[in-house]
């Protein structure tokens, strides 16, 4: 990657060559060096609750069937028939004991085993010509889960998922572990935007600075009381290994009072206290920070906000959680997959209201998200021209010219989570994300393991 050495050097000092947001050559590198060996989110276990349930998901161009097989085991199998390469499953969700290829009728159990091969004896001479036993759809090279989140890694030699996530797991739990019952996902809503995938990932990772301006309309109409400029900069950003996010500073109070302030009912708070560690509870209860948006490298983001979901003078708010994937299509196009997530043990009315809160704020119709995407599309379009190759975007917020911080990082006593945390407007997380991006793109090209049938 010597050709792009200048790009990576600039990125590392927080000066972003604008063309990285719309560059076909760099996108080809991202495919070869980044997406081919990072852990890529594909689904959540709750999307396939029953034996035989499946969803079909892509890791860029590769289609995988994610099944819960008839014995209850969750699997990820490459959606390509061993014979002529036809997709054996062309629906995106359903329940099936078998997948039968429409081309020549080869069929596979929902655990991937090849079971049916028409005219096996006549056409192949039976097992002498083509031994059927042991043949399966190709399993994903690496497949693992955390709190029910299912990830695929195309690199068979990838580090374990838990190591990849590292200390970011501490923050992932806030979104994905609110009881012993686990999360329930709905969706995703899917739509395509003419924007580079990195922009959304960076925005969710750490852009507290955009909230008061981009989302001014949300405050204008009284939907969300928090994004006022003064409040947003009192929040902290944090970065821990492979992910980071933003928080809001809550008014004084105990853990319970602050969870109530954002709208959690007492019975949910009780369950949350049973599963969050004392350190995790201290981030809210002592430090006073409540998680908002976050990104797990490379392209998985989360959001947790608490808007007002019904009419009236009351100030009642209710939280929602959304998980979203910035699925890269090309240098200038992304498919957004946006799920609504809620603790499966939550009360029915809470689930209903939280879903409503999600729809009003995020997703294809969300009033926050609408204005985000407008910015990202415009940015991507402009980044494709030749002038963008002469422009370094300043992404050094929070740093003085000699790299000393504008505001010192929070000491451990004021922030009980792992990693580095920082109060105020800054771009530490966007820089951390793009540094990881540069590190991956500078590594040698991943060599795919040879597979023989």
């Amino acid at each position: 990657m010597t050709a792009h050495r200048d790009v990576f050097e600039n990125v590392r000092r927080g000066m972003i060559p604008a063309h990285i947001y719309n560059d076909d050559e760099l996108f080809a590198c991202e495919k070869q060096r980044l997406f081919s060996r990072a852990w890529m989110f594909v689904a959540h276990e709750s999307e396939i609750p029953q034996d035989g349930d499946y969803v079909v998901r892509r890791v860029l161009d590769d289609s995988f069937i994610i099944t819960r097989d008839s014995a209850g085991a969750i699997r990820a199998m490459f959606n390509m028939c061993l014979h002529r390469g036809m997709q054996v499953c062309r629906a995106e969700m359903g329940n099936a004991s078998n997948f039968r290829c429409p081309y020549h009728g080869w069929s596979y159990r929902n655990d991937g085993r090849l079971t049916g091969l028409p005219f096996h004896r006549e056409a192949y001479g039976g097992d002498q010509g083509f031994p059927k036993d042991g043949q399966t759809l190709l399993p994903a090279p690496n497949f693992a889960s955390y709190n029910g989140l299912l990830f695929i890694n195309l690199d068979p030699a990838a580090e374990p998922l838990e190591d990849f996530l590292g200390d970011f797991r501490f923050y992932l739990d806030f979104y994905t572990k609110q009881s012993t019952h686990g999360l329930e996902l709905r969706g995703p809503q899917r739509w395509r935007i003419k924007a580079n995938w990195k922009i959304g990932a960076e925005n969710f990772a750490g852009d507290m600075y955009h909230t008061p301006h981009t989302h001014a309309s949300i405050v204008d109409i009284g939907l969300f009381r928090e994004p006022k400029a003064q409040k947003r900069k009192d929040g902290a950003t944090y970065w821990a290994h492979r992910g980071g996010g933003t928080t809001y500073k809550l008014p004084p109070g105990s853990f319970e009072e602050r969870m109530r302030y954002v709208g959690y009912p007492d019975e949910m708070i009780g369950r949350i206290k049973n599963v969050w560690s004392p350190q995790q509870q201290r981030v809210v209860g002592e430090d006073g920070f409540m998680i908002s948006a976050a990104t797990c490298f490379p392209n998985l983001s989360f959001v947790h906000n608490w808007p007002k979901v019904r009419d009236g003078d009351s100030d009642d708010v209710l939280p929602f959680i959304s998980i979203r994937l910035w699925q890269p299509i090309s240098a200038d196009e992304t498919e957004v997959c946006s799920w609504f997530a809620v603790d499966s043990a939550a009360p029915t009315q809470y689930k209903k209201d939280s879903y409503k809160a999600y729809l009003m704020c995020f997703g294809s119709t969300g009033m926050f998200e609408q204005d985000d995407v407008e910015n990202w599309v415009s940015l991507t379009t402009t980044a494709g021209g030749s002038m963008a190759r002469r422009l370094l975007l300043n992404s050094r917020m929070g740093l003085l010219s000699d790299d000393r911080p504008v505001i010192e990082a929070l000491p451990a006593g004021s922030f009980h989570g792992p990693g580095r945390a920082q109060v105020g407007y800054n771009e530490y997380n966007q820089r951390a994300l793009l540094k990881l991006w540069a590190d991956h793109l500078e590594r040698d090209q991943a060599v795919p393991r040879k597979v023989t049938a």
């Binding site: 099936a96 739509w191 935007i193 003419k194 989302h215 939907l223 729809l359 294809s364 119709t365 379009t381």
Partner: protein, 171 residues
């Protein structure tokens, strides 16, 4: 098969005119006037379509929609359009709601059920390609205050992955 009202029926003509008048307001982004065409108990839903096997028995995402609105949330969306900070519609999109295939059915309780097909054309700026959204609609019209009002709308998108940057529009 249910029989629609003949095209010459006055109730069909009224329903058709309702949809055409509504499309005019949506094209012109006169959303306050549009809100006034909806009943206070309006339910406005657009499920997420999914690709499923023939015979699966469903083709929408269980429990998930693009829109699942009541009067409060629709009013908030309209109120937002009236602020000075609605960047996604400033400059505004050029919109055209094409409405066709209108069939009207009379219900026992005086409501009209109206089916229609809709093609939305949306153009923004002068660089990116314009976007199209094709859908079917199933409406319930109620006679109140001496005119028809929309009491329920179900929008059936014809795509599983929308090719539009957002739904800062109404269908």
């Amino acid at each position: 098969m249910r029989k629609p009202l003949p095209f010459s029926d006055v109730q069909h003509l009224q329903a058709h005119q309702f949809l055409v008048d509504e499309a005019y307001l949506l094209d012109a982004q006169q959303y306050e006037l549009w809100l006034d065409m909806l009943t206070d108990d309006i339910r406005y839903v657009m499920p997420v379509r999914v690709t499923t096997a023939r015979g699966a028995g469903f083709d929408t995402s269980p429990g998930m929609a693009h829109f699942d609105e009541d009067k409060y949330s629709l009013s908030q969306r309209v109120a937002r359009m009236g602020t000075e900070h609605v960047w996604t519609e400033d400059p505004p999109s050029r919109l055209r709601h094409f409405i066709t295939n209108v069939r009207t059915f009379e219900c026992d309780d005086g409501h009209l059920e109206v089916e229609s097909a809709e093609l939305l054309f949306r153009s923004r700026g002068d660089v990116n390609e314009s976007a199209l959204l094709s859908c079917g609609r199933l409406d319930l019209l109620r006679w109140c205050d001496d005119r028809w009002k929309l009491a329920c709308r179900k929008i059936i998108a014809d795509e599983s992955v929308l090719r539009m940057q957002n739904l800062a529009v109404f269908l």
